[in-house]
Structure formats: structure tokens, C-alpha cells
């Protein structure tokens, strides 16, 4: 049985690290579509993959969140990346493997993975 004492230890460890976190400027938002269509198409493992990869690389200033159905159900799982001052990028038919690549190429290196975008899929 996992105990709350473990959570207490985790809290103490994290409180020490919270100070070095910078503010919200330049915050990148990764938004995963989590309506019925997205969930049925596999959005939950995609969300998990983004979360794990961002945590593993200890990337700051990235918020991973959800949205509902945006009306392009045939392209689910859909992930939007929103960066201040840049155009929104919409990735479609995502998988956990593609999510890892988007974290590396786009979020870390700043290069949009064009082949996964809706523009490429619609051709």
C-alpha cells in the first residue's frame, strides 16, 4: 500500500526546486483534443507521452492541457501547439511515438514537424 508519507517526501523535495522555475513569459501551450472523438482515437496515450517526455527532459514553460472537439474528428488525435508570437501549429492523427518527436523537434529545437501537420495530411 502506497502511503501519504511518500507524497510528503515528494512535496519536500519539490518545494526546494520550485524557486528556480521562471515565470509564464514565453510559455508554450500544448493542447490535446479530449472529446469523445479524440479519446476514441487514442488521445489519452498521446497526452501521456507528451507529459512524460516533457518531464523526462525537464522542460520548463510548457503547459500541457486539453480541449474539446474542434470539429475535425476524422483527424483525431489532434494536438495544437501554441507559442506566443507564432502561428498555431495543428498536428493530426497523433500517436505516442509522434508525440515524442514533436517534443524533440518542435518544443526543444523549434522546428515544426511539417509531415505531421494538418496541412500535410490534407494534401
Amino acid at each position: 500500500m502506497k502511503s501519504l508519507a511518500e507524497l510528503q517526501a515528494l512535496r519536500d523535495k519539490m518545494k526546494n526546486n520550485m524557486g528556480i522555475r521562471s515565470d509564464d513569459t514565453g510559455n508554450i501551450r500544448v493542447v490535446v483534443g479530449m472529446a469523445t472523438c479524440g479519446i476514441a482515437a487514442g488521445a489519452r496515450p498521446v497526452l501521456q507521452a507528451f507529459t512524460e517526455e516533457v518531464a523526462k527532459r525537464n522542460l520548463q514553460n510548457i503547459t500541457i492541457t486539453q480541449t474539446g472537439c474542434i470539429g475535425i474528428c476524422q483527424y483525431e488525435p489532434v494536438v495544437e501547439v501554441m507559442e506566443p508570437g507564432k502561428e498555431k501549429v495543428t498536428y493530426v492523427k497523433m500517436t505516442p511515438e509522434k508525440a515524442v518527436k514533436v517534443v524533440l523537434e518542435h518544443l526543444v529545437n523549434g522546428n515544426v514537424v511539417a509531415e505531421y501537420t494538418i496541412g500535410a495530411a490534407a494534401k
Partner: protein, 183 residues
């Protein structure tokens, strides 16, 4: 939907959109009675009686971006496929309770799947909402309650990956313990 935990994730999104402050999710397995009961209860805005009657209709939705709403009909179908039942109780201003009962051993009963991933996804994406997940197996049960976690965390956000990892392990380990204790 390939597993029931995905239906639960989907149904709980309705509670999120109903502006719930507390969402209580329960899974109760009983081998003797051969039942598996899933309940999602919220304190959100609730529905009118007319809405409650129409919500199992796939061509009813309150959304304006599209004409169908499949979440509730899919869960209802999953339950009824096993000879089980489905019900919604709701009152405007009080909240909504969705209950789906399954015949546990029926061949068409989908596996429960990864409830820990469902609960963690919900907590991560909705840091302002409290969740209680109760799992019962026979006589024994445990609960993961974000109100309790928040108290321990003293301001450290629930959505931190390490915290979510702890909550996921908490659910997985306690679930496995209940199941092995009673065979």
C-alpha cells in the same frame, strides 16, 4: 472505445463542462454478484428533465459546433451489451450522477483498462477540480482523493509530473493489492 476507462474519461469531461467542483468516480467489482458498476457523480450545473431524457440520443447535444453527442450513448451501449443497465439522475443546480452496470463475466464486457491513466489525465488537465476515485473489489475498497493530496502537498500543484506519477502508482498499487488479496 477499447476499454471502459476511456468511457469514464469521456463521461467525466461532461462533468468538467458542467463546471463541477468535485467529481466522484467509483468502480465497484463484485465477483459473487457478477457485477461491475461504474458511477460518475458531479456537483455541476445539472440538466433539465427534458435534457436528461434526450441525452442518450446520439443526435442530441447541447454543443453548437456539431450535431452529435456520442459519449453517453456509447457507455449506455457498452453496459446494455452485457445485459446490464444504465441510468442518469440530474437536477438543475445540483449535479448529475451517471451509473452504468455491467454483467462482469459477460463475453461482451469490455475490460476496465487503465483507470490510473484516466484519473491522472483528468487531474492534470483540470487542476482546479477535485476528484475522488473509489475502487471497490468485493468487500474491500480504497479511495484516491485530491482534497487529501492537496492538503499534504501544501501548494505544490497536483499537475506536477512527479505528483501525477505518485497518484498513478497509488491507484495501480492499491488496485492490485485488493485484487490479489481476494484472488
Amino acid at each position: 472505445m477499447q476499454e471502459l476507462s476511456l468511457n469514464v474519461l469521456d463521461i467525466a469531461q461532461n462533468s468538467v463542462r458542467a463546471k463541477a467542483g468535485l467529481i466522484e468516480i467509483a468502480v465497484e467489482e463484485d465477483c459473487k454478484r457478477d457485477s461491475l458498476i461504474i458511477t460518475v457523480k458531479d456537483d455541476g450545473c445539472g440538466m433539465t428533465q427534458e435534457q436528461v431524457q434526450r441525452v442518450t440520443d446520439p443526435f442530441f447535444t447541447t454543443r453548437t459546433t456539431r450535431k452529435v453527442g456520442l459519449g453517453v450513448p456509447l457507455l449506455k451501449m457498452a453496459a446494455e451489451m452485457t445485459g446490464g443497465s444504465f441510468s442518469i439522475r440530474s437536477a438543475v443546480g445540483e449535479g448529475t450522477t451517471v451509473t452504468a452496470s455491467f454483467a462482469r463475466s459477460h463475453i461482451d464486457r469490455m475490460p476496465l483498462g487503465d483507470m490510473a491513466a484516466t484519473i491522472c489525465s483528468l487531474i492534470q488537465c483540470n487542476p482546479d477540480i477535485d476528484f475522488v476515485y473509489t475502487y471497490r473489489y468485493g468487500e474491500q475498497s480504497f479511495a484516491a482523493d485530491t482534497r487529501q493530496f492537496r492538503q499534504v502537498l501544501e501548494g505544490v500543484p497536483l499537475s506536477e509530473p512527479e505528483v501525477l506519477g505518485y497518484i498513478g502508482d497509488f491507484i495501480r498499487e492499491n488496485t492490485a493489492e485488493l485484487q490479489t488479496n481476494q484472488g
